[in-house]
Symmetry: C2
Subunit: 327 residues, 2 copies
Amino acid sequence: MAKETYVGVDLGGTNILAAVVDKKGRVLAEAKSKTEPERGAAGVTERIGETIAAAIKRAGMRKKNIGGVGIGVPGPVHPEAGLVVCCANLGPTWDRFPLRQTLAELTGLRVTVDNDVNVGALGEHTYGAGRGASDMLAIFVGTGIGGGIILDGKLRSGFRNSAGEVGHMVILTDGPVCGCGEKGHAEALASRTAMERDIRQALAAGRQTIIPRLMEETGHTLMSASVIGDAYDAGDELTREVVRRAQYYLGILIADCVNLLDPEVVVVGGGVLERMGEPYLEPVRRIAEQHYINKLDVSKIRLVPAALGDYSGVIGAAVLARQRLIS
Amino acid sequence: MAKETYVGVDLGGTNILAAVVDKKGRVLAEAKSKTEPERGAAGVTERIGETIAAAIKRAGMRKKNIGGVGIGVPGPVHPEAGLVVCCANLGPTWDRFPLRQTLAELTGLRVTVDNDVNVGALGEHTYGAGRGASDMLAIFVGTGIGGGIILDGKLRSGFRNSAGEVGHMVILTDGPVCGCGEKGHAEALASRTAMERDIRQALAAGRQTIIPRLMEETGHTLMSASVIGDAYDAGDELTREVVRRAQYYLGILIADCVNLLDPEVVVVGGGVLERMGEPYLEPVRRIAEQHYINKLDVSKIRLVPAALGDYSGVIGAAVLARQRLIS
């Protein structure tokens, strides 16, 4: 009998989340650990193995019932070789780290590796907001902006495994500098980080906002999506202005992708969307639609919020494992 | 025995080109007519039929030896329905015109219809600069900028048949107005038309250039790619400045597409490339590569000039017919 239960793992800079996922995309059990990147690639991989074991145990299952493990990594990978290319957030010990082989040896399970945003897109396509669509683009807006492409129901990794890098598309030539060093990228204009930069600059120039008070009250040092959302909901004028600008650029980014790819569905996810929901997405949709070159069937394209929240990664990783590791 | 010879037609605003193409992509014979758009969709389609018949006759063949006709149209189409959606250059009689059915009835041949840029991309992929690549993007720079996407060796039309509209991707938010009315599109920054606008504006502001003299000498009223190329070759300072700017924006457009799609090959074609060749493409390549987010394998992506010149359309249309009409 084919094994129908897989483990999906979402490796983040802060947490490792592992989930046992059945063939209907239901999470049967999960386990979470701190990543503690200072342990290095080998140490973190050991912890990933322990987290997987804990999730399987909580599901009341044994390894022999598990078809394999899919893992999403915050950086570029070589899926065929099972290598991590690098992970800026996790440190240099991850450069060309053989994650698939190391984790397979540790767990005795078959393993497949991909980029975290790619597996998130696959999760949203298979069990989330993109269900039933043949072609889908997912865009996740948070600290950065990442994307994943599904065509004919399959994840498209691209020739060099770097398809879907929507955050580094230039939408304002010679615009603000991006984290990557180049200018005018969507990530430098529409991410949470871009909003934080704009708010801090306005503060420094003497603009009034309730943001510093909110951060103090909640003990945040970073301007999280939750802080920005609270200020927006409270009607803070500077925040509204900055969010509107970010929405404008996100709408333009989405239009660029639609004009090139013409997918059926665009799913928007990530921290900002999760916190702010439809009121965040509605103006983005309006701006995007204004910039679609094909105006005849604008209403046919669905621009929708992600449906799986923090679980898109683990569910998508389990789907990937099922697709790639099927016996 | 399966028929191995197809007719490809390239319908342009000025000329109709029909070619009889064998299974190796060789043009066995061709025929050309004036489009004369004022004849309207029905009249032009009659002339297309005559041009096809002339090409078949010149090849020394009969209709019964021809597998079918593929035709590339300068505007959006519904391939499944065989309809032209509209053709801005040809007039309103083309709106929702049933080209497939009309031409099939006129010629007694099976017909398939697609966008001219899409079939050009398919031609370059099958027999031109993109041969052997699994995934390819073609960008044609002329009066406008159009593109076509090949993935897994197949033309991707998109959910609404409008994939590949690279000319209308925003690369400079709120930049110059495009022919379509929106701002900051690649077409408004890197097309021949954009160069012409920049040169005319500089002229109006008193800048010196040999362009007006060249146009007078050659009897051009439009600033053709050939005029721009001649001025560039003669070292005209304004022309060099304007071409450099257009190259910069084209490089950024290509990088945007590569960061999203990650294809193996990008083919650049169209009037400007045909006239200026590698000296035009080399700076574009440098700028594009600077903006690829994946810097590890930059050299793996081939950014190359189109190889079929004016024949990419007819050859691609014949390939499309072979793919779609195979018995």
